[in-house]
Structures are given as structure tokens and as C-alpha cells.
């Protein structure tokens, strides 16, 4: 049986993102959905030897180009709605971000874990925002 994949040696080379950077999470999110997504991650990944509890997000790392907020939203045309927060808002609530996957993808980790943390995360992620690129895709 293959062991869970340790992520600490696989992080993409990224400076810690500034507090003002926007975090994009495809929606709509619910407590149940986040718990289910986090459970998958916990099965197959570890971070520094410990189980990862977290979900996937994208960070708008640049002002323009492929990793700008506009481009990230355009890369998510299957999402009618998204949730938007800032790195600073998440850090203020004790969430951590690890640069897993390829550039712009991060795992938003629930330090401490548990359902209460997920409820807290739902609050920080806030309301649904329409992704304008979902609508654009469907215009003739």
C-alpha cells in the first residue's frame, strides 16, 4: 500500500503571500461540502508527517496576467459562483496556506481542524459572488 503523499517537499516555490492577496474558492460552499473535500485531502496527503485537513483555493498572486484575479476567474468557467476573501482575513482566523500543486493553487489548512473550524471558514469566505466568466461562456 502506498503511503499518503508528503507535501512539504513538493510545494511550489512561492514567497508567503501578502495579506492583501485575494483568495478564490469556487462555490457554493457548505459545511458538508468543505468537510467532504477536506476528508479526501486527509486520506491522501500529509504535511510534515501530519494529516492535512484543508481544501483547495487559488490565490491572485499577480496584478495582471495568468495569475491575476481576472484570469483565475476566467479559468473557472464551470463555477457560476465563487467565494472571495483575502489572505489576511484567513490568517486572522488562524487558517494557513500551503503552496501545493502548481502556481496559484494552495491548500487552505484548518489548523486545529474540526467542524467548528469549517463553520468559521464558511463565515470568512462569506457570500457567493457571481463569476462573470460563467455567464460569458454561455452568451452566443
Amino acid at each position: 500500500m502506498n503511503a499518503p503523499v508528503e507535501q512539504s517537499g513538493r510545494l511550489h516555490n512561492e514567497s508567503p503571500p501578502h495579506d492583501a492577496v485575494v483568495v478564490v474558492r469556487g462555490g457554493p460552499d457548505t459545511t458538508e461540502k468543505i468537510a467532504r473535500h477536506a476528508a479526501r485531502t486527509a486520506i491522501v496527503w500529509t504535511f510534515e508527517g501530519s494529516v492535512i485537513e484543508g481544501i483547495s483555493v487559488l490565490l491572485a498572486l499577480d496584478e495582471s496576467g495568468r495569475y491575476s484575479l481576472e484570469s483565475l476567474l476566467a479559468s473557472m468557467p464551470t463555477y457560476r459562483v465563487v467565494h472571495l476573501a483575502t489572505v489576511g482575513q484567513l490568517r486572522a482566523h488562524g487558517f494557513e496556506l500551503s503552496a501545493t500543486g502548481r502556481r496559484a493553487h494552495f491548500t487552505l489548512r484548518f489548523v486545529g481542524g474540526g467542524t467548528l473550524r469549517i463553520v468559521d471558514l464558511i463565515t470568512v469566505l462569506g457570500e457567493r459572488h457571481l463569476n462573470p466568466h460563467f455567464e460569458l461562456r454561455r452568451k452566443p
Partner: protein
């Protein structure tokens, strides 16, 4: 619309592919490399669904990881193509 693989379409691992678990497929027999599937979430009208191609399967920690790529367009686009060319399975 019933999906073939429940998945977080934002997920991504070191390969760059989106991934989920084999056990999240209602009918695992269709989850084979090369297969076209519908992946995403269901239950909320705003849930994302995408046409995807299964790339590979890998056993990790006693579970089968399914890696797939999200294809452009939505299922209606593919239905139009199939209808135009009168394709039957």
C-alpha cells in the same frame, strides 16, 4: 443531471491534474483511463459540473486516486456535436 465522479474541481496535486477518489464514483466501472466523464458536485443549482477525461488511477493509502483533466465547454456543447454528426454509442 447525475454526475459520474463527485469531485472538488479546484483540487490539484503535484501532477497538475485535478483529482478525486474512485470511491466517489456511483459507478466505478466507468472510471478508467481515457474515459469521458461528468465530474463535480450536485445538489445545489450553482454546483459546478464539467466534462472531464480520466487520466490515470493511483493507489494511495488504501484508496484509489483518480486524476483527470477538465475539458473545455460544457455537456450541452458535446451533445450538440454528437447530434450534428448523428453519432451512436
Amino acid at each position: 443531471m447525475k454526475i459520474d465522479l463527485r469531485a472538488d474541481l479546484m483540487s490539484q496535486d503535484h501532477t497538475g491534474y485535478t483529482w478525486s477518489l474512485f470511491e466517489d464514483a456511483p459507478d466505478p466501472s466507468i472510471i478508467v483511463p481515457g474515459a469521458l466523464i461528468l465530474a463535480g458536485e450536485e445538489g445545489d443549482p450553482d454546483d459546478p459540473v464539467a466534462v472531464c477525461r480520466v487520466v490515470e488511477l493511483e493507489e494511495i493509502n488504501g484508496h484509489m486516486v483518480v486524476r483527470f483533466e477538465i475539458l473545455p465547454g460544457d455537456i450541452e456543447d458535446y451533445a450538440i456535436l454528437v447530434k450534428r454528426h448523428n453519432v451512436t454509442a
